[in-house]
Point group: C2
């Protein structure tokens, strides 16, 4: 059952076809912000985007349509066949595997995310590196977080590098874009606010031993270069450091976030089991 | 007390000075392998390299010599003053902050690393991405690992990206380069061999609850794209998966390694405390 769409009297789109030219502009943040759309590359992201009902148009090469027949079928009349050269014009990676989707933004307002009472939330404050942000998003999803807040001047979650690093998780958790870390709202919904900082006064292991991770938790993570802003460190309920057992001066952001989020996941699992 | 070396009748080195030209060749693996040397960029790496007595020659701009006087003093007559343009020719990053050191390889043979009876070891099997390898090296150091084994066709630990991602940890832990994962030697020195794999039959949390992380441990990590080779999965004492609580299909390598290594660090700490 192939859904390869026929377009009578019209070959595959090229790099100069107006719809391809328009979609390509979504590589720029200004265009993404203005249109509320973004690009997702490759079969994994496209599959998750289709499940999340976020796909507006799926650009696919003839080869990709036959290789990923399930995705072509799911996209139905939203498929636009493109030449290899047309796809390359849209792609930010060397190997998009023949598929690029134009998607609608998927973020939700803070109250919507909190209405689902997540027990674990990650707040990315002023994180500028899109690869780091996407990796933390992926890790937060894996650790069972219900929401990830991109706060302040954090990177655009729809930046191509962030979308790719998230490996589909952008479509799994509630992504929130907020001008600030929304601490009052997080706290009002019963989340304990923990600031992850190398200068924290409590060690993550000690906190876990004290039962300090059992409550629903929102973790605040800052940029690797500058850490968390002072006002967020002060606003948190506790300032937590990942213990450094060897001679490394610090962990990189994604590793620190993985250790913190999984410590929470483990504490929550024990709480449920008892 | 400035140690800015004077070279009578000789200005700062330029990109065409033979020693700069020779050092630049160390950006290539073949040259690194042949000479047993590599480049370390920036003040943090240079500081750690000096502490590890690995520095042969320190190329520094006049500005960097005055900004990092302690490093210039420590390097003494190994300092070679270069022009900004000479430094740029040596640098792989945009901002090497005026300092690049030619270092001797620091890796040690397997028996030397094991003679120090490390309680935590990370084995990187067939990991090709230098940024990933360097990040895991940094995380292993932070978690208190005594040795990191680059096994098989793993990336060159002296690749510039790996050196930078390790953030100095290349000079902190015993780095071992081995044609294979050295499992018999690791096991003979009392290390329990755990393979980190998404298809593991035991969950990391369950293993921790059972006390399965209390023993000295060597973790095997494979590439993100291909995972661990089958023979290593089979050779391990246990196959361990990081639990996935959300909808992510997997964790990225650096995040998975952080969670595994810190679970071991936490178990070892509890063991020592009792």
């Amino acid at each position: 059952m192939s859904s390869s769409p026929s377009r009578p009297g019209d070959g595959p789109y090229t790099a100069r076809t107006p719809r391809v030219v328009a979609a390509r502009k979504l590589q720029r943040r200004a265009e993404r912000d203005e249109t509320g759309r973004f690009l997702a590359e490759g079969p994994q992201a496209v599959r998750e985007a289709l499940r999340a009902r976020a796909v507006r148009e799926l650009f696919a090469t003839v080869e990709a349509l036959s290789r990923y027949e399930d995705l072509a079928t799911a996209a139905g009349d939203r498929v636009s066949v493109v030449t290899e050269e047309g796809l390359a014009a849209l792609a930010e990676t060397v190997r998009p595997q023949g598929l690029i989707a134009v998607c609608d933004h998927v973020d939700v307002p803070v109250p919507d995310a909190l209405a689902r009472t997540p027990r674990l939330v990650a707040v990315l404050a002023e994180i500028r590196d899109p690869g780091n942000a996407g990796t933390v998003l992926r890790t937060a999803d894996a650790a069972g977080a219900g929401a990830v807040v991109f706060a302040g001047d954090a990177v655009d979650p729809y930046n191509g590098k962030c979308v790719r690093a998230s490996a589909g998780s952008l479509f799994h958790v509630d992504v929130v874009r907020s001008p600030d870390a929304a601490i009052p709202a997080l706290r009002a919904s019963g989340l304990r606010i923990l600031a992850a900082t190398g200068y924290g006064d409590i060690d993550l292991d000690d906190l876990a031993d004290e039962g300090g991770l059992a409550a629903p938790t929102a973790w605040l993570f800052g940029s690797e270069a500058h850490g968390l802003p002072d006002e967020l460190i002060e606003a948190a309920d506790a300032r937590v450091r990942v213990p450094l057992h060897g001679r490394a001066e610090s962990l990189n952001l994604a590793a620190a976030a993985a250790v913190c989020l999984y410590a929470s996941a483990r504490a929550h699992r024990k709480t449920r089991a008892h």
